[in-house]
């Protein structure tokens, strides 16, 4: 076919404004999608309240059996009983906001070949999944986080932060948690390209993640060496740091450091997910037609 005229296609690019509009649209669609399944979240309000109630009575019993410290108040791991209950309650309220399953979504899409339908579209799959997670988070905020806050805070006497401004920093911090959590999920989800079934990996990640994020037990209960290890993992940037900010345990520059650690993990995991996704696509077969 030498000498054949070749038809050219323009390398197409979306404008920045259109890209922003597109991603906002994904946020909106994810919100609508979860709204269709809102019934599921009403039961979530009940189960989260039961979790927190469990910890409430557990810690009350533990602290009651404890001799009062120097200030006349019993302390464990540097927290009073009121702080401890606040720690648990705020941790779970935060989790109700940032939690998502995009790792599992990605696994299903890879396993069933549905990922192909994303790859034939002119957009960045990782970004789309991130903004869908954001849409889910907005939905969870309205339908889940706000209701459980209204229930849990008065019920268990959750403290307000020592300074009101910390409430704003906590919200920012939990927003960073959402990014870290989603990107971590995405990265783990990329394993699905290489393994047939990553259900176990995802479950292990979720359980150990909650534990290592300090959602179940505060880090200050752990031995020193364990705390050192945990500091180098991304999980503390998800659950532990925002609650510490809320409790006023990150005064002055430590507040900035905590937020920077979170932002660092967000960027680092985003980049890692990017590399993992691209490499996986190059090496691995997408199942089915």
């Amino acid at each position: 076919m030498s000498g054949a005229a070749a038809t050219r296609l323009d390398p197409w690019r979306r404008s920045a404004a259109a890209t922003a509009g597109l991603y906002l649209h994904f946020v909106r669609l994810a919100f609508l999608k979860f709204l269709a399944y809102r019934l599921r979240y009403y039961t979530g309000v009940i189960s989260y309240t039961i979790f927190v109630a469990g910890y409430y009575y557990l810690y009350r019993a533990l602290y009651a059996s404890r001799a009062p410290g120097p200030g006349g108040v019993a302390e464990m791991g540097g927290l009073t009983v009121g702080e401890m209950i606040t720690y648990v309650a705020v941790g779970w309220i935060g989790r109700s906001f940032y939690f998502n399953n995009i790792g599992r979504d990605l696994m299903h899409q890879v396993r069933e070949g549905q990922i192909a339908m994303q790859l034939i579209k002119p957009y960045d799959v990782q970004s789309v999944m991130m903004f869908e997670a954001a849409g889910e988070a907005v939905f969870r905020l309205v339908m889940f986080t706000v209701p459980i806050t209204v229930v849990i805070v008065p019920l268990f006497g959750v403290h307000l932060p020592p300074q009101p401004v910390l409430l704003g920093w906590t919200v920012l911090s939990f927003t960073l948690s959402l990014v870290v959590y989603s990107q971590l999920n995405f990265l783990v989800g990329c394993l699905a390209f290489h393994m047939k079934n990553i259900d176990g990996v995802l479950r292990a990640k979720m359980v150990s993640g909650d534990f290592l994020a300090g959602v179940i037990v505060p880090f200050s209960f752990f031995p020193e060496w364990f705390q050192r290890v945990v500091e180098w993992l991304p999980f503390q940037a998800i659950g532990y740091l925002p609650v510490m900010i809320y409790l006023g345990k990150r005064p002055g520059d430590e507040l900035w450091q905590a937020l920077l650690v979170q932002a660092g993990w967000a960027v680092g995991l985003w980049l890692a997910g990017r590399v993992a996704f691209r490499r996986s696509l190059r090496q691995v077969v997408v199942q089915g037609g």
């Binding site: 390398p11 404008s15 649209h25 269709a36 549905q114 192909a116 339908m117 034939i120 077969v285």
Partner: protein
């Protein structure tokens, strides 16, 4: 020389598979020291496709059809060879390239499962930056040709397969792509729905001049839509040419079914057509079937002999369907070393 839109040269894709050992111990050994084997799914495939062509890409399961399509759509990176579509390399410039293509993979949908159909279209409008007037015009065309306005506000999960396929076709064409990839577009559809899909594809090609590459098991799709056919087996292209040429290759084989007025023996028929390249298949009683090639003998000559010698009640000539032709092409290329065995007596 004609214009080229899709240029494929020596395209090759290998899959690496673990050769499993047997038993529990074998399974454990596999974990530590896997034995890899390589499967060549697509081997040195080359072709050119001009703008506006409608090409049927056919082959059995596992022949390499889907792998080729995946490389052409940028989903899969080849092991070797090159593909350029309008100067773009699909898997390297995925985002710049996919704006120009649409795809329908019959077994899956690109619509958002939980949302009303119209929400998917609105999203696609944003994804491809379709201007308002183009969007309105395209939706008008789809309503007219596919009648999608009936279920535009239903969630995708509640659509029938036929309705979903109509929506998927519209979704793939909303942004007026230059190339449309169809992987088994009529799979699972009933006769009426199939016919609707085919009619739509013909109309949209005439209307918007889209280049279509179609893989299918259903040779009716090819017969009704494509002038050009490529046959792939074991990763290699065995035939690339016009459908008419494919028929010619097999010498215009014809199957003649004859109903006689009285029971007739095969031996008698063999003597009747002695000297003509006609093969009588094992028949019974009054009905017999003969095969011959129009290239070797005129149908009229065969019929004349039979009708003159035996009382015939009825007689029908039928051309083989493409499935048979494809099977023959496979057989011929399998026995490529030896000359193809003659079919004449």
């Amino acid at each position: 020389m004609s214009d080229v839109l899709i240029r494929v040269r020596d395209l090759t894709r290998d899959y690496r598979l673990i050769k499993r050992r047997e038993g529990v111990v074998g399974g454990l050994v596999d974990l530590v020291r896997p034995r890899w084997s390589t499967l060549r799914a697509v081997a040195d495939v080359s072709f050119d496709i001009a703008p506006g062509e409608m090409v049927g890409y056919i082959g059995a399961n596992g022949a390499g059809k889907s792998t080729t399509i995946k490389m052409l759509t940028g989903i899969l990176t080849p092991t070797g060879g090159e593909v350029t579509v309008g100067g773009l390399v699909p898997w390297k410039q995925r985002r710049q390239y996919t704006r120009h293509i649409g795809a329908v993979f019959g077994q899956r949908t690109q619509l958002w499962w939980d949302l009303a159909v119209v929400e998917s279209f609105r999203l696609l409008k944003k994804i491809y930056e379709v201007p308002d007037d183009v969007y309105a015009a395209q939706m008008g065309v789809f309503n007219e040709l596919l009648g999608i306005d009936e279920f535009l506000h239903q969630p995708v999960r509640k659509l029938s397969l036929g309705q979903r396929m109509r929506c998927d076709l519209a979704a793939a064409l909303l942004h007026k792509p230059r190339i449309l990839f169809l992987d088994e577009p009529t799979i699972g559809l009933d006769v009426v729905a199939k016919e609707n899909v085919r009619r739509f594809l013909r109309e949209i090609r005439d209307l918007q001049g889209v280049t279509v590459i179609l893989t299918t098991h259903d040779l009716g799709d090819i017969e009704q839509l494509c002038r050009r056919v490529m046959i792939i087996d074991k990763g290699r292209v065995h035939f690339d040419g016009e459908l008419e040429e494919l028929r010619r290759r097999t010498g215009h084989r014809v199957r003649m079914t004859v109903d006689f007025r009285e029971p007739t023996s095969g031996a008698r028929l063999a003597t009747v057509t002695a000297g003509l390249p006609v093969v009588w298949q094992e028949g019974e009683g009054r009905r017999h079937v003969a095969e011959f090639r129009r290239l070797d003998v005129a149908g009229a000559d065969v019929i004349k002999r039979v009708v003159n010698d035996c009382p015939v009640r009825d007689l029908a000539l039928a051309e083989p369907d493409i499935e048979e032709i494809v099977r023959e092409i496979y057989r011929d290329s399998a026995a490529a070393a030896a000359p193809a065995p003659g079919r004449s007596a």
